[in-house]
């Protein structure tokens, strides 16, 4: 196929850049463990309130400065709606929805999870900087979507 010389250079440069880029993404994901939120566990959405651990949503201490946040994202609130932790704490989030699809996004962090009914989403994040973090729903869930919020106070 006829390819002008400059186009060859252009495409080869592009290809090499792309391969390096994808290899870096792969190393970060599969060797260093930087994967997006997700996980493969399922749950009956209309039984969330009766299924442990989601029947008792809350923040549980796992070790020093390490917590497990068992949460429900539901119309139009997060349960629990407020959590307080010391700076430098790591939180393992486990979140599910008893109704529609929600998003759980903590502004100013990389916590950005899709909460799909029938499934459990998990993600781990360390809060190093003290502050008042806003949790909000960033997937449309109904007329009160923009009022769905929570807070994490890092002291």
């Amino acid at each position: 196929m006829e390819l002008p010389r400059y186009e060859k250079i252009w495409l080869i440069t592009g290809s090499i850049t792309l391969v390096i880029f994808l290899v870096l993404l792969g190393i970060m994901g599969f060797a260093m463990g930087f994967n997006p939120s997700g996980h493969m566990k399922t749950i009956a959405p209309d039984q969330v309130g009766a299924t442990p651990p989601f029947d008792k949503p809350g923040l549980f201490t796992v070790a020093d400065k390490e917590y497990r946040a068992v949460m429900q994202a539901k119309v139009f609130a997060f349960l629990p709606g407020e959590m307080t932790i010391p700076a430098g704490s790591k939180i393992h989030f486990e979140v599910t929805s008893p109704d529609v699809v929600h998003g759980m996004y903590i502004a100013g962090t990389n916590v950005n999870m899709m909460i799909v009914p029938g499934h459990i989403s998990e993600f781990t994040h360390t809060f190093n900087k003290p502050g008042d973090y806003l949790i909000l729903c960033n997937e449309y869930c109904g007329s009160g979507h923009h009022l769905m919020l929570g807070r994490i106070i890092v002291q």
Partner: protein, 568 residues
């Protein structure tokens, strides 16, 4: 008008001579019907967009009978799905007719009208349910939010109608191939066929979702729905959808624009290869919209990220070919120096200016897209206003502004009228206003999205949270951008109506611009026209990327599926 001007209806050095070619009235009416309906959708969708921008900035509060999310649904459905589909099909018909013996076959025309009426009926059904607030589910209609069954049935009619439209294009193309044995098909027709093949492969996903999941569930025949599966099927369609918008703009850039600028089509082979690559690598990539979701394992997400990025190749090839075409055109007109050719281009002709501004905006817009699909980086921007900014630069700028540029010559060619110098100037003002509005709106959305502002949300200060309050000033800018865009749409619609009904009539309308292929380029290899091969390769790629994870999603127990919910 002087005789010299009459011979060349181009401005600022553009070449658009008068032509004896005229569309058969039946074909012209078919194409105009598609354009007119697309413009009605554009008007209503833009009105919804204006109100949203004003609400979101806190400038106005909606009356109780209107809900923000109702407007958002109308905006998305009317602009992303209806305006684009009708305009694209109309434009593709025009080029197919022009390049394939100048006339549509009678049988193809009846398929085309059936397609039009089906899509029209479906749109009206869906629009009524949105108007009565029975379908505030946004244009992605994610289950288990459940809209009226008529909303979903309307969508089915739109999809099936668009398949009829594809058949009209395939019939013309197949007939031409039969009657022109051994010849290479015209580039426009080839690209139109490729676009509609991509469309059919893509819409199969959403058709399965709507017909087998949403419709029976919304009618109450099935009590529960497999939400995760419906999302995967939607995004199987949702990403190639964006290439369905983009490819017609590419057709204009590759095939029509070279004629306007006294240039030649850069190559007869590489554009075809570009379109084949789009068919192959637009479908097995939908998971990059679902990177933060449960139910799909990291391996499959990453595999689709890799396949997504292959789009870099056709994009780089297009960038090279288009800019190469411009440079060669300028040099053939005696341009000197490294960049002298830029000054030889007809910047004062809206038919050139609009697509060129689109191309320029596509460079940052495409770069943003690479961020979106970058596996980990997606977490930073997912479902923030960054994403909304992204598709307002890609779809709403690069694609839609190109469609505006097409309209300025296509309408007068169809109505046998003249693009007057005044209308051309209006077009230039309108295009520049569009870019200004999109820069304010789109760039600001990117910035405030990075700060965390969510997309698809009504005005909210989140209990006066300091973080949310810090986003407000940016929203004021977005509101102003929205106002500029609405003014620009109104100017465009004014020009469109003028060109349709009031511009001076002429027996010899401006030529339908089709670029000549450079004689020195090779004949395209025949294998590029063996569609069954490329469809087969696409199916294999789709199976590799989707079979296992879809199978896995289908295995989830019935108890984990969702009953319907109405939360608006």
């Amino acid at each position: 008008m002087s005789a010299a001007k009459h011979k060349n209806a181009g401005f600022d050095g553009a070449v658009i001579p008068a032509s004896s070619f005229a569309f058969d009235v039946k074909d012209a009416n078919l194409i105009l019907a598609h354009l007119i309906f697309s413009f009605i959708a554009l008007f209503l969708g833009a009105l919804a967009g204006l109100l949203q921008a004003l609400v979101r900035a806190g400038y106005i509060v909606l009356p109780p009978m209107l809900d923000y999310y109702q407007l958002l649904t109308a905006h998305g459905v009317l602009l992303a799905l209806v305006f684009t589909t009708f305009f694209i099909i109309g434009f593709l018909y025009s080029g197919v007719v022009k390049t394939l013996d100048g006339k549509m076959l009678a049988s193809a025309r009846s398929w085309a009208w059936w397609g039009f009426y089906l899509m029209l009926a479906g749109t009206i059904m869906a629009a009524i349910t949105i108007l009565t607030n029975d379908a505030s589910v946004l244009y992605t209609f994610y289950a288990p939010l459940q809209a009226s069954p008529w909303f979903y049935i309307g969508l089915v009619l739109v999809i099936v109608g668009s398949w009829f439209s594809s058949i009209a294009i395939f019939i013309n193309y197949a007939y031409w191939r039969r009657t022109h044995k051994g010849e290479v098909s015209p580039l426009f027709a080839y690209m139109a066929v490729a676009t509609m093949i991509l469309w059919i492969i893509a819409t199969i996903g959403v058709a399965v979702e709507v017909i087998f999941q949403l419709v029976p569930w919304s009618l109450g025949w099935t009590p529960r729905i497999n939400v995760a599966l419906s999302r995967a099927l939607f995004w199987y369609f949702g990403h190639p959808l964006v290439y369905f918008w983009l490819l017609p703009a590419y057709i204009y850039w590759y095939v029509n624009v070279p004629r306007i600028i006294k240039g030649k089509v850069f190559s007869n082979t590489l554009p075809r290869l570009t379109f084949i690559l789009f068919i192959l690598y637009s479908v097995p990539v939908g998971f990059h919209h679902q990177l933060n979701e449960p139910g799909i394992s990291n391996f499959w997400k990453f595999l689709q990220v890799v396949l997504t990025m292959i789009v870099v190749f056709p994009s780089l090839m297009t960038a090279f070919a288009i800019i190469g075409t411009f440079e060669l055109a300028g040099r053939s007109q005696g341009a000197k120096g490294r960049f002298g050719w830029i000054r030889k281009l007809p910047w004062g002709d809206v038919r050139f200016l609009a697509p060129v501004l689109s191309m320029l905006m596509f460079i940052p817009a495409g770069a943003g897209g690479i961020v979106n699909a970058s596996y980990q980086m997606n977490q930073v921007v997912h479902n923030t206003l960054w994403v909304t900014g992204h598709f307002h630069l890609t779809l709403a700028t690069s694609v839609v502004l190109t469609f505006f540029g097409i309209s300025y010559w296509l309408i007068p060619v169809l109505t046998r009228r003249t693009l007057t110098p005044g209308a051309n100037k209006l077009g230039i003002v309108q295009s520049v206003l569009w870019i200004a509005g999109m820069l304010l709106l789109g760039i600001t959305m990117h910035i405030v999205g990075l700060m965390g502002e969510p997309r698809r949300s009504s005005f909210s200060t989140y209990n006066d949270h300091a973080t949310a309050l810090s986003w407000l000033p940016y929203m004021y800018v977005i509101g102003i951008g929205g106002v500029l865009l609405f003014i620009s749409v109104m100017l465009f619609l004014f020009a469109a109506v003028y060109l349709m009904y009031y511009a001076p009539r002429t027996d010899q309308p401006a030529e339908y611009p089709i670029g000549e292929v450079d004689e020195s380029t090779q004949h395209p290899p025949l294998i590029l026209e063996r569609w069954s091969l490329w469809i087969a390769v696409t199916v294999v790629l789709v199976l590799v990327a989707y079979a296992v994870p879809i199978w896995h999603l289908m295995q989830t127990p019935l108890a984990t599926w969702s009953p319907p919910v109405r939360t608006w």
